[in-house]
Subunit: 249 residues, 8 copies
């Protein structure tokens, strides 16, 4: 039930088309509808215009398909993250308009497009192996209504690659820096700009990288002011937070 | 050397009061002046109007005093973080206008005040023991030119305390959530608002808190979208990032 | 050797029927075969109300089948945890009355049913991915003779979902809270009720979740009183402890 | 906003006394100020049987004294945990009836005493060094209205010491086991009884004890069913949870 | 080249059948012969009569087969640990007398049998899942010339199972205790006997067991004197050390 | 109550000087006598002739003194480990015959001396900083009735120092190797001898030594067979286990 | 912008050809486009003696092939590390001259060969399982223009194996020591030579080896001077650094 | 026993002057007293160009003084690391020529000075707090006979500071980079030069710095080739290794 539905309910009450009792009962279940195995949060929509987010990784193919199908009637956009292609095939059979971004592992059902502000989000990766996480961030930000500048493979081992792009990076409103291994790129970028930097450590690497811990710790202890951090490989979270900042009025 | 000094230099060159050679030599040392033990970065000022930041924790009382004294001629504001009262006494003897915020452990020399935007930063703590970190964030944000709403001791063990404050919290532009122990407050706040949340884990607690690790991990793995994290006890970093977002145009 | 045997030994010594040397030798093993341990055997008999528990994960299919088969003549119920369907097929061939709960991964052979008390156990999960652990807890509790209330997918990112269910939750005698990622649900529930909460961290998540460590630490450091914790993914242990409390007289 | 207020709102809409727009705005804050949270306030009142708990460790002497003083007019008992003697002296000057339990590090102001149930809580420690944590648990349980049986220094290195006490331990309704080092006592006790065991790891020990981690992990992975765990050194939490179970009706 | 070969060489020198130069050249390569990819240590044999040990886990099937084949001419027994059945098939094709112990994952080529002392080694496991590690220890000890008493599935959750076996356990000269999860069995056994205990933590378990770390830490911090520890799952190491002690004169 | 006291009791029973009832009551409390805060284990004596061991680190000066005093009448030797000089002064005032080994931090009250076997225990340290732990091991072994060979400061950085001592080391029956930092000495010694090696990691070092973890892990993963490990800095445990092996018949 | 451009700017200001405002804007980007970074580009050209390095592990087969193909026209040698045979097949189809070193997992396209200095690099492994990492180091060093001495399977458990090779090892200019498990070989080699030692911990082993951590920590805390460390399994890094040192003039 | 002794032994056997049995016994100790180890002693003599190194941290003031005094007659220089001023006062009383470098915490007794090569070692720190570690490295390198270029406080948060110094850095033969917090400076420097970089993580920082672990991991996982790492705060080790490389011929 979204905001226009609540409005419709109130109009029906006003116009005597719906009894107080029936309206109360409908409102009681207002924040979510029950699918049995998963309670879907429609409430967010009222507050934000954001799409419904489904974290697919811990779910079965059938569960993912059913959740998309159940949401079909809602006016919200729907976004499934950490989705594999098998999930997408299942969703598509039930929801033909769904689109899949394989590198970003996102299934999207876009019902309406938010207006995009002129300001942009820069997404910088240290290496090519960080691109899947970067694409998760980029597609998330784009689906949430943002323009994205992609600058990939600009790690500190070849810091000059970054220098060329500085004017473009500085023209953005928020920066996402994605790096595995020693994660130094976040500090370097943070030291060169005066724009909020959201750092995403990736699990790319081996040995003392420990699945992203070394990059995570490096980013958390960054000497550069203005750097905040999200979970390892959490491209979605970075894209979501960046969108919040970029779409601020 | 700050931006007005560069401007002055260019004017002198234009007016024939300074030779090209002399100007070049001055510009060569442009980004910083050398104090022997510490190279102070004046360069930031040009880009930002932010104060000079001195991390005092790893320095001797004498070093802190000398750095403040050496910066006296600059037009920038100066901020010393993690400063104890002994450091302040030494600084004050050399720089009488310096002010000390004991709970925030910040020494400030404010030469000019930035215009404060109408939008505000909410700072929420889980417990009273988190207040020193919160004050570091709050004073940082205020010195950087922001209005701050303090909501202390509103942890999830008594979640109703938070509910009362929701309208005020939602009226802010960015939220800093500060919590030790299990750090759940960040997730709870993140689930209730559509505003960027910067989470600060604190080392408050004992046992399996492991000096802030439990709160740090909880915040990084928060299920609520829109939450980013800074280092354990890093009130300054949170205040700085929040200021960047709050002062955005 | 029990107390009456010691008495008999002393009488034999007194009456000269047993030499000092022989008596000394018998007493040498005294402390570990005494009353306490004798009582253990009775204790096992008293305990027979409980089912025999077989932890299947570290065993071969053949071992699991054989253990079930060997226990067939006992009057106890039998419960195999962490059992896969292949194990069940093997058990079923030898013990046709065995039942399998696939989501809970439990094989059960119920020979008699305990009387169920009126009081109930609430089982709450943060997400749908936590359901397998929750089902392990729920089926365990049910097989041990308890009524269970399942409230799934009620995590803190949408805390309002929990609020609806509060009256039902509060009507239970003990609560099991199951959550991965930041595990904040345990603290939130613990802050809203005055009922013992058993928290189960799950390995659901990625990155800084570290296989359940973040949830585990968060639950251990919970600011809410009345929360105790079991091992990561240990639905069985939570169900067992909850049953102990719920079936108390 | 509670359910009758929502009903009133709908009636006003129906009767044309409230515009759709105004109603929508009011409903916007609906989920967080609804029945559930209204119930929380009642809930706090019901809850007043419990004392107010103040965690003193992260607070100044002055803060502790002021909190005790401010609560003086409430009808609740007050309990300050992790309090040192200096804090007590300050509290006592403001609240003369306050009592200090130095080994338990608890300041108590008991305004009324709860009726004590006949059932008891057993508190068992592995060594003498675990006694401060045990006393925190014991005094907490006693102040919350329970009878406690103390069995100290009964670790597994001399397991026969435990055997003597088994009848007394088994006569209790809930057991708290407190142990540092390898924490094996929790498993041993758990294997000998059919009563809920709350295990408290302590930071007692050295080397690979790692400030209580070895005992914590051992307790979490206990093979004995019916064992749940609280934070390292968290005698208060164990006493509180044990009291909840022991005082159940 | 073993001790009898050195003796033979010396006899040949004495008898003038071998020149000094030739003898020197032979002795030069005395400690090992070169296989190209692996230098096999024959030297041990001189010192000890122990078999050659091949750790197979990090080797290819071909490498394992070739090493066994190359050693065929030596008089030493050969033992391959952590060997899978595929490796055995390959070895067997080249060395038909090789025997495989599948549960212990050991390939053995026994050329001569050491005389077995009367004293025995007790091997106790906490659960059935620990048996593969126990068998590695047991077969190792037997191949090294020891009699072994196997006592499996006697964990602390059912401590009475252990009590029955105490007289037999106490009659042994050294004890190996093998346990996963909380590893408490080592402390319990250590508290009941005055015989050296070698503890082997196993990776059996899940969650906070962390691949054997909880058992390892518990064993290292055991309160019982006389307990020493080997690596997680290191049945071979425990069997080897126990054999050293048991075969002492 | 020790074995001769039990014998005396039986004689009194035989001779009619003690009633069955009184004898039973005495035997009931057989394993320990209660000091209030600490139950002292006399039971060990019966089994072993080993001294009473008191771990002093977690106790107050008064507690240590009282325990020594209470044990004065027992025939056992008494050994207090991790004792500081203040504890010794207190013990000495109550028990004038007590002796203090300051480097080993051991207080000893030797009532009778065990016969020393001809075989010896070698104690080897990597550096001079490991000596306090080595002395704890050495004094423990000596008080338990063993001859000790001390070889200090023979670390692998100068491996030739070890070579000189090999004949002496090989003449011992068991070896204790004590090393901090990378703990490589245990592997090197283990590779050069065919004697049981008990390795003691020490917390000596800094940085990635992590309080002894690096040495601990290195010793646990030693490639040399015949190496077992005790807790970090646990000189006592090594000395005790070595004594068990050295005094074997 | 380089120094002559700054000079030109100043001249234009002096000559009134450029406004103060325009000059200020140009100078704003001054620090990051200055001499230093201009020099970086020259620096890359100088650097072309080194091959292009492609870390293949995080890339798709197609990406690896395309990168090789795109670089075909460059004069540089190309080296792909962590490449599997499937990647090689793809590369070979596009770049027929590419060569594969399967044990080292390196694809190489050698366009010109550097002159090899007379001095050599010794590569020593503890076991046969360390050979893949050693081969990565060896092939890297050889492709970078060095002669390599391979000494494999010379671990400390049989330290005499190393002794034979000491003269050859000492004749090298730099040593790479590769070891898993306890990593003691680095310390032992470091104690026997006066040549720089680069230590490579490997993930070979099990249990408390923790994927190479034990070897890593042991190498970092090595008591032998002159030992530096690279990441776990990082044969490439060791070979690269050793080449830098060996090819020094 | 060296090779000529073995030859002599064989001749004696041939000539009947030595029995087979006696010869066998002598050969038993052959591998460890052979050529290799004999060579070690010569090797130590060759090595005397290096100073004697005393790690003072784990020693008493008296021990440090006595070691210096005992070494007085040797021709070697002596260097005591991690020495406090109290140790120096004691040393000075016995060895008046000893010199103390308080920031580096080094006591030096320089008897002869090595000839310094023209090439230099650059030592770069990220912050002023890293200077004590840098001075330990610098003084070590100088005492070992090297010229050092100190570049302090050039961290990545202000990367432009580094750029100025690049020509000077590139003119050195080896670089030591010292950084705490995120340790990114090592990667940045490594990406800008083609000179061996020895990275020293420092324990400077707080929170997720974990005593230097974040910097250590970042340096180990550096994407820049040519970077090797020493232990946290190990300025001495870095200076020693750098000297080895810088003084190479």
């Amino acid at each position: 039930m979204n905001i226009t539905e609540v409005e419709k309910l109130l109009i029906e009450v006003r116009d005597g088309e719906k009894s107080i009792e029936k309206a109360l009962n409908q409102l009681k279940n207002f924040p979510y509808t029950d699918l049995g195995f998963a309670r879907i949060d429609n409430h967010r929509e009222i507050r934000t215009g954001y799409p419904e987010i489904i974290y697919c990784a811990g779910k079965t193919v059938t569960q993912v398909r059913d959740i998309f199908h159940a949401m079909l009637e809602s006016e919200n956009n729907i976004m499934g993250t950490r989705a594999n292609s098998e999930m997408y095939e299942a969703v598509k059979s039930a929801v033909p308009d769904a689109i899949y971004y394989p590198e970003a592992r996102i299934i999207s059902l876009q019902k309406k497009n938010a207006e995009r502000p002129a300001s942009r989000i820069a997404i910088i990766t240290a290496g090519t192996s960080d691109i899947p996480v970067a694409e998760e961030a980029a597609v998330t930000a784009e689906l949430l209504g943002n323009n994205v500048v992609r600058i990939y493979d600009a790690g500190v081992a070849g810091i000059h690659r970054l220098v060329d792009k500085l004017p473009e990076i500085r023209s953005c409103r928020v920066i996402i820096v994605i790096a595995g291994m020693e994660g130094a790129l976040a500090s370097v970028v943070g030291g060169l700009v005066d724009i909020p930097v959201i750092a995403v450590p990736t699990s790319v690497g081996y040995g003392a990288n420990f699945g992203g811990i070394s990059a995570l710790l490096a980013m958390l202890t960054s000497c550069s002011s203005g750097v905040t951090v999200v979970n390892i490989d959490n491209g979605f979270g970075a894209g979501f937070s960046a969108s919040m900042i970029n779409r601020m009025k």
